[in-house]
């Protein structure tokens, strides 16, 4: 009887671990990742690792967290020249993604922030639209 109880308990624990593992993978491969995978992953990589000095890695970008409000304009307008992130100056060329809607942009910003930033509050579509209107 005791053995049976232990066996059921062990099975439950294994199932819970599997469900947790599956759910943790959702933010990387689920709906939130679609905009990123379609527009960004070919250069920055599925895991945001970048490619040498050609495409910068995302986890070390201070556009996440500190300068998140600048990010929609940067993505929408692209970059051609130097940008300063942290204490580094980088010469970057990134195409403009002006065709992204504010809904797609907010989905993307939240995905970037939650995956490689420190989390932070979810940014609404309205906030992103407001940031985009004030692009230089």
């Amino acid at each position: 009887m005791k053995t049976e109880y232990h066996s059921i308990r062990r099975c439950t624990l294994v199932l819970l671990a599997a469900v947790t593992l599956l759910l943790s993978g959702c933010s990387e491969n689920g709906a939130d990742a679609v905009v990123y995978n379609k527009n960004c992953a070919s250069c920055h990589g599925r895991d945001g690792q970048g490619l040498r000095a050609l495409y910068p890695p995302l986890p070390e970008s201070d556009y996440l967290d500190k300068r998140i409000s600048e990010l929609p304009c940067l993505i929408s307008g692209g970059i051609r020249g130097t940008i300063v992130t942290g204490n580094k100056t980088k010469n970057i060329r990134m195409p403009a993604f002006a065709n992204l809607t504010s809904e797609e942009m907010s989905t993307l910003i939240n995905y970037l922030q939650h995956r490689w930033g420190k989390g932070g509050a979810t940014v609404s579509e309205q906030t992103v639209a407001q940031w985009l209107r004030s692009c230089p």
Partner: protein, 204 residues
Amino acid sequence: MLQNFRTPSCACIITLHLSVLILLFVVQGCNQSTREPLPILITVEVPYTFTDQDNSPVDQEMFAEKIYVADFFFTSCPTICPIMKTQMLRVYEKYKDDQRVVLLSHTIDPEHDTVEVLSDYGTRLGIEADRWHLVTGNKEEIYNTARLYGLAAMEDKNAPGGFIHSGSFTLVDRQGRIRGYYRGTEEEAVDRLIDDIAWLLNED
């Protein structure tokens, strides 16, 4: 008596190990000898001279007696090129110290991809021009070259970045013969390319 039977002797264990080793050796030998040779496809003769990121002329004579991998890309390509370059970088890292192997990437956007742009691109990628040539030149000649390799490259205003091109890597042997095409966006295909280069290096 029973004890002796259950505990195998030292000589018996050594014999068993030796047998397994011999068996593995024989199986490995069989695998090597039964590998299908790479097909011999068309012979490529490129009559043009291009210019690489070091501003040096590059023509096919430089690749005589060398195994090389050719592809087509452009530096501002927002779709498959970054993935292709990530994969080509794996081939570069594997063979950069082997003078018998060279990589050759042609830009299909020579108006934008000048020698300066390619030099900057190569520097960022951390590659040496004599091991991996990024070449630019006359647009029509580059597009004709793509056709000679059996690959597609064309302008298309509706395509992302303004161009359409094949994502394949072409493997060319020391006699200028194409020996295989590999999807430059697929890690497994590039694994096969790396293996096939090793095989070609040992071909008589």
